[in-house]
């Protein structure tokens, strides 16, 4: 299933003009505050009638201004998690969660018990939204959207109000949703870590326009995208396969760049997964360092060197079939005399790869579409 979006809309002082396709999997909208992300999602949901445009999910046309087609929101069946939770104040949490059920077609879908468990809201079921904390509200809103058996999921910063631990619990579920169903997800987030872990496709927006679009792996490991994403957030995404669980709790991952040792990844042997490596977590060395706590030392070759205007530099390395980004100071780059073709080592701490940077692999669709 693919969502095709093409929109033009003008507010006083702001013009939106975007066009993109969101394949199955998760498409992240990324951009500054006020860049038009919510506006796009609202148009897809049918809450905003854009001046012009067309929105379709495969052959189902949700909107076509030219042909005067505009399905009302309830016929679109999109599960929308709003930036503000918008829970129904007169219903209990349980009733809120089950609201979409009344209208959903019969058939399989997320089970209440599972969603409640995953979101940690079992104790809230009989409460009403009025007394919930900000994070609790948002969790219920996520559950409500999931349980409505949507054709598409729209999520507007669904995790912003949650703490790391809760995020870490919910992310795998979103991954599963992304991978195990063919429900496309349109996802707004300010967190590159989230985006890198979840996104199949990344749409970077700026002032109402699409600035960059592409498979998330490519956009994220493209040194040229560093300014758009923010230097802190650049990094590369490696595809890996789980090949061993060591006794001391480390997991062995095979990548085409070499073997990676990471803190326990709870997946079965043979699982395909993706690992984000932030550019700033990579150290470049001319000779293989000894007596050092970093466990992952990958032989690599300098592909390109991007010197910015500031003190920083981004080096693109090739290790096996993967591209790895490293961010370092211009001074180091010069001290090490880095140049394309130079053989180096990429040094990576095991612990620097946070759990939230390791995600289940994107199967089927992504491989088909973006490889």
């Amino acid at each position: 299933m693919t969502l095709a979006v093409s929109l033009r809309h003008g507010f006083a002082g702001f013009t939106l003009d975007v066009e993109f396709a969101a394949p199955a999997g998760l498409t992240a909208l990324f951009g500054h505050s006020g860049s038009g992300k919510t506006t796009v999602i609202n148009a897809v949901a049918g809450l905003l009638a854009p001046d012009a445009g067309r929105i379709a999910v495969d052959d189902l046309v949700l909107l076509d201004r030219a042909r005067r087609i505009a399905l009302p929101p309830h016929r679109r069946r999109l599960g929308y998690v709003f930036q503000d939770a918008r829970l129904f104040p007169h219903l209990t949490v349980r009733q809120n969660l089950l609201y979409g059920r009344w209208f959903a077609p019969r058939g399989p879908g997320a089970a209440l018990a599972d969603v409640v468990e995953m979101l940690g809201i079992g104790a809230l079921l009989q409460r009403r939204p009025g007394g919930l904390s900000g994070g609790e509200k948002q969790r219920v809103a996520i559950g409500r959207a999931l349980l409505s058996k949507p054709r598409l999921l729209l999520m507007d910063e669904p995790l912003a109000a949650l703490d790391e631990e809760r995020k870490a619990e919910i992310l795998p579920y979103l991954e599963r949703l992304r991978d195990e169903t063919s429900v496309p997800i349109l996802y707004v987030s300010h967190s590159v870590a989230e985006v890198a872990r979840l996104a199949t496709t990344l749409v970077v927006m700026e002032a109402g326009r699409v600035q960059r679009i592409g498979p998330a792996r490519e956009v994220l490991s493209d040194p040229g995208a560093v300014p758009a994403l923010g230097p802190r957030e650049a990094g590369s995404v490696l595809r890996a396969r789980l090949v061993g669980q060591d006794a001391d709790g480390l997991t062995r991952l095979e990548t085409s760049a070499g073997m990676l040792l990471l803190p326990k990844v709870d997946l079965p042997l043979g699982a395909e997964l993706r690992v984000r490596i932030a550019a700033q977590d990579v150290i470049v060395a001319r000779q293989r360092p000894e007596g050092i706590s970093a466990l992952n030392i990958l032989p690599a070759e300098v592909v390109a060197l991007h010197l910015g205007s500031g003190p920083g530099a981004v080096v693109q390395l090739r290790a096996g079939g993967e591209l790895i980004l490293a961010r370092l100071t211009r001074r180091s780059a010069e001290a090490l005399a880095l140049a394309p073709g130079l053989p180096v080592f990429a040094v990576l701490k095991s612990v620097a790869v946070a759990q939230s940077d390791v995600g289940g692999a994107i199967t089927g669709p992504e491989l088909l579409l973006h490889s």
């Binding site: 309830h74 918008r86 009344w102 939204p129 409505s148």
Partner: protein, 232 residues
């Protein structure tokens, strides 16, 4: 029947209750519908509808009574139709008194409910829409529960007005003891007789007592509902 009331008075009390109750209950769906349409839609003739709804408030009640007589009387266009098609007769029946009371109370009911609807955050209705609820379902499951305090307010306003309505009722269905003589008609009759003040006052007190009870009940209900909606 308490012995401090004559049988006519007792019947007037009963009739007033009956009339007010049905007048407010039966006009409730129309009131909600009219309020919803006025609050949420824009259409040609909206202001006309709005004007018609307000008419009974603007006109002296006697005029409304005459208009009812001309329209809903046995020979009136609507009245004749209703009688032939459904055997529904208003003239000189308590049903006519209820109709008159309902018409007189209608603007009050619609205004209260309309205000409540206008205060409902459309974002919640949108959220319900994205969850698959069509407009009528959104109304039933989100809007209606949220406007319940307004509906209760509208209902009690209508009930109170119906308890006090006199001019339109007596003009439309006259005052036949036991059939169309409501409390206000009885009170009016006493006031017009020299020395009837004391009797009138007794009925006034009964009328007040009933309305107060209804008012208290509505306040209590309204509070409960509002607390539920505050959502804690």
């Amino acid at each position: 029947m308490p012995d401090w009331l004559t049988s006519d008075e007792w019947r007037a009390v009963n009739l007033s209750l009956l009339v007010s109750f049905w007048a407010s209950v039966l006009s409730l769906p129309c009131g909600i519908a009219a309020a919803y349409v006025l609050a949420r839609f824009d259409f040609w003739g909206k202001q006309l509808l709005n004007g018609i709804v307000h008419l009974p408030l603007i006109l002296p009640p006697v005029v409304t009574g005459y208009l009812l007589l001309l329209t809903f009387g046995r020979r009136g266009p609507v009245g004749a139709f209703l009688e032939q098609s459904f055997g529904l007769v208003f003239a000189f029946r308590w049903t006519g008194a209820a109709l008159a009371a309902a018409v007189m109370a209608f603007p009050l009911m619609v205004r209260a409910i309309r205000l409540a609807i206008e205060a409902v955050d459309p974002k919640l209705e949108q959220a319900a829409g994205t969850l698959g609820a069509s407009r009528p379902w959104v109304f039933l499951t989100v809007t209606l529960p949220l406007i319940l305090p307004g509906v209760i307010a509208g209902f009690i306003l209508a009930f109170a007005k119906a308890m006090g309505e006199f001019g339109a009722t007596i003009t439309f269905v006259a005052s036949i003891p036991g059939q169309t003589q409501t409390l206000p008609s009885a009170i009016y009759a006493f006031l017009q007789v020299p020395g009837g003040d004391a009797q009138a006052m007794r009925l006034v007190l009964i009328s007040i007592a009933i309305a107060m009870l209804a008012l208290l009940l509505s306040e209590w209900l309204g509070r409960r509902v509002a607390r539920r909606i505050a959502g804690t």
